[in-house]
Subunit: 236 residues, 2 copies
């Protein structure tokens, strides 16, 4: 059976691709690209457009709708896994590309878990990618951690107590997908006197990159879904 | 004044360099490489050896001794900052290379903070790199986080209560520089019934990479200083 690759393509800037990602994307027969619907563009594909296609690879869009209904999402993951299984069994190496890193808040993890169940002898390799966290830390000139500092990464859905605890016990707190709960997060940061230690970043590493250091400006606004807030206690 | 770059060179495999890191390392006049003593080899330098030097760059070793004495380490950071300041003022672009990412547990952060104090008009750019965390997650086939899962990163020096809290409240817990406190960590994992959810990795991405899933094998042993334990509750 052929080999499956999960390939991280970084946060958006094609220059943040690794040599390994490029080599594998240029060597496989099939490249699977995630999309949120059948007719939407793939952000991940746009990152690698300059390096693939020369060898005539087949490019297959996999649809991962943003839905909270597990039955709906499972149907799409199953469908993707069946497509990939077919290609692997036909002896074709398959690379699935993921924004950032394939094992860090990526839909690839579901496909990977699904395929591991289907194929006991699955041959898989993960190529790590630059995460949006590291790219955002670089873009904002905000170090994530030094020496013995602690880092907490929390996605947007959380309880208030959890957020307060993290803000108390950790030195850097990264709030992912913050768009959905931004005003609530802002209120907690204000309450804890940490508002001035926070920076908002969206679409890091793309042409639409946005960095906002005065969080009040974003109150009540509609925010991009690729956005995060980094809170760092030790500002200099 | 010229420009300072903090360039992440990834965890060890030269193929995990980004295109941007390579472009900048091939364009600057001066490359600073970290060493732990004057006569030791630089691990970071070994990662980029294949891509630099063609343009006749000056390579300057910066010594960052591993010491808990802040007066000692400050002396070395000051010394490094003075060297870099001189090059920048002479109009030479300088790249400081860091294993992994420059803003994630890197000594570059100290040099950066020091230079920011010295030079109010410091022109600096950070090039993010693949962290050892993402590389280790890939090598062990252990996803770090999906959906709304939480991730905690703790360095080796911690209080037991802090570790227990993190193991309770987070889905994935990454313990960095675990070599110094491995037996204590193992005891807490055993107590909390999480020993089988943990994987030990050292020198990820290098020829000496070591992955150990039965942590009991490491009890009482001397471990590499570039080592971590990833604890993931949701094993499949």
């Amino acid at each position: 059976m052929a080999k499956l690759y999960g390939v991280g393509v970084g946060p958006g800037d094609p220059e943040l691709l690794t040599l390994k990602a490029i080599r594998i994307l240029q060597s496989v027969s099939v490249i699977c690209v995630p999309r949120s619907s059948y007719d939407s563009d793939s952000f991940a594909l746009s990152i690698v457009e300059g390096v693939i296609g020369k060898a005539g690879q087949e490019i297959i869009p996999l649809v991962f709708p943003m839905s909270k209904d597990k039955e709906v999402t499972k149907k799409f993951w199953d469908e993707s896994a069946i497509i990939i299984e077919g290609k692997l069994k036909a002896g074709m190496d398959v690379a699935c590309i993921s924004i950032g890193d394939p094992f860090f808040y990526s839909t690839f993890i579901y496909v990977f878990e699904n395929l591991k169940e289907r194929l006991k002898d699955l041959d898989v390799e993960i190529v790590p990618g630059i995460t949006s966290i590291n790219a955002s830390s670089a873009a904002t000139l905000l170090p994530l951690a030094k020496a013995n500092e602690r880092v907490a990464v929390l996605p947007a859905t959380y309880e208030k107590e959890m957020l307060s605890d993290a803000l108390k016990n950790y030195d850097t707190i990264v709030l992912m997908k913050v768009n959905r709960v931004f005003d609530e997060v802002l209120a907690v940061l204000e309450e804890m006197g940490l508002k001035d230690n926070a920076v908002f970043i969206s679409r890091c590493g793309t042409e639409e990159e946005r960095i906002v250091r005065d969080l009040d400006l974003l109150k009540g606004k509609e925010l991009d879904y690729l956005s995060m807030v980094i809170v760092r206690k030790a500002l200099y």
